[in-house]
Symmetry: C4
């Protein structure tokens, strides 16, 4: 029961984050196709962030399936993750409005990195609460995908100042890499 | 249980979409009746989109009743549908503020069309997951209503450039056609 | 189960409506007390609408407790109610920003009236679905409170053009009258 | 069942409050690091309020675990608490945009104080509904932490006019003091 409310609250916050990002896509004054063109980078960064938030919701959903008892540590680790996710609309808007300039690109990567770290902190809080035979620990294993993502975010942050295009491509690649839902947890639960 | 969370998240996103559309109805400065008049087209497009989002929620609700197990494919097909729905506030605002000009009308139809396609993709993902005796497949049948809607959206997109009024009327007609809740699923579940 | 989702969606929409109304309370530029003063009417109309939306949530909550099976008619009557409630942020903002001028006061009353009618339509749809021994029909009885409210809204709409203060007082009185939760339904369920 | 809907609605409102606060963090026009600097106080006040709203959600969650039957009094005490929480985005934005000036700091404290009082009113309504052997009454005990918080808010409101830094530090300290989840209720339920 306790868990249901944690999920419901997280779902609410994530649903709002994914939806208010679209408010950065401000209605233009003109009514022709040219009026839409300046919005293209804003739209692209919206799509990227929509996919990222979708991935977080998806994986959060799978991870919480392994949780039986919600501890105080899990509650706060979860809020910490939601905090970094709540900055997505801001960094997405900044990146889009500045046509993927260096600083906004780097800040976007920084928030992605912090969200990834917050996700790991939540994962560890859940594993710690589950003790030795943690279902989640088994499912996650060595967690190479997360480590690789963090490394790629760091690379993209540095790349932002040399080649914005490379930086953007790295963000898109990490998103693609995670689009495949985390079958590891489903596998372990299935056994 | 998994399904509940998918429904809760979708409900959250759809509830936010249907509500933030009203933010395009910006409070005017004057306090007389004349101050409200320029808002009329914005209000009309709000009503139209409210009905459309209501229809999607309604049918989504019925469709998910047939789902037992949520697969990764269903999760992403659902997010894909939510993505196109999330663009409703933008296209609604653009169409309203430009008094149903050609381009905004056409873009509105394009987003309607993409949402309809996303709905079909989700429907197919659910049918595929249910195997041979899919309850949803039986309920949907040949799905003439969806095919007709897509055809009408295409017609309205083209019509936008010749007769905006015709285009708007087509959008309104499709909405009316769907206002009747999808009794096909209720019928099959009832058996 | 079907009912749960109807409640969840309505809760989501009402929660968003009650919260985005506060966005009309725009952060002023100055940092002294004088900067807050022009916000007073906006704040007062926010308080009034917060109470009204709270009353609707409260009564909606009680009314749905009597529902067993959700029909298509109930779904659409519910969306119709949510539509009128979704206009609360707009009319609240307009009334507040124009310091309770005649037209905004009257429009506020009009939306209150339409929401009250939509609530009655939903109530009748539920009663119709419950057949002869409707629990809700018994609970509601002759429904004098609703009839009186509608009459008072009408009076306040007319009064707006003669005495804005009287009009505002009527709205506040109706809200106070409803603040007492609808014990009729609890009483009947308790039996 | 009744309780579930109270929780769901509260979760919805709190989720929206915690998320729309980020909208005060307006996307700046420049794309360099200097463009971010004026946002620092807005960001700091966002972090502070995020933690406060998180604390309220956390404690609300624990407190409602002890509730079995929702009375009309509890419903309205809960809405009253949500009302004061709904003012957080406004006072947070005002405090941030004015770089922690005296009046905005004091108003922030006033809203914190009113929310704390509203929380106590809700707590008392729940205790009253539980009768003599109230689980919550046992868990709360003499409730020194709440009394101390209210005293500190009052101190900070006065301090705002003499030493804004001291005032801000007090707000941060109270938040830290509450970051430790309320183990009192868990302890009593566990017995």
């Amino acid at each position: 029961m306790e868990k249901n409310r944690l999920e419901a609250f997280s779902d609410g916050v994530i649903a709002i984050i994914i939806t208010i990002m679209v408010l950065e896509l401000k209605v233009p004054h003109g009514s022709d196709f040219a009026a839409l063109q300046p919005l293209l980078p804003v739209f692209l960064s919206y799509v990227l962030s929509f996919v990222y938030v979708g991935i977080y919701w998806n994986n959060h959903h799978h991870m919480l399936q392994t949780v039986k008892h919600v501890t105080g540590g899990i509650l706060w680790a979860n809020l910490h993750l939601l905090f970094w996710l709540s900055l997505f609309p801001f960094v997405t808007g900044w990146m889009g409005e500045n046509h993927f300039a260096a600083m906004p690109l780097a800040l976007y990567g920084f928030v992605l990195l912090m969200a990834a770290i917050a996700y790991l902190v939540l994962q560890n809080a859940i594993i710690a609460s589950q003790g030795e035979n943690s279902l989640l620990a088994k499912a996650v294993g060595r967690d190479c995908k997360s480590k690789l993502s963090s490394l790629l975010y760091l690379t993209a942050i540095v790349a932002a100042f040399f080649s914005p295009i490379l930086s953007g491509l790295i963000y898109a690649s990490v998103a693609l890499m995670w689009l495949i839902p985390d079958s590891r947890i489903e596998r372990v639960i299935g056994n």
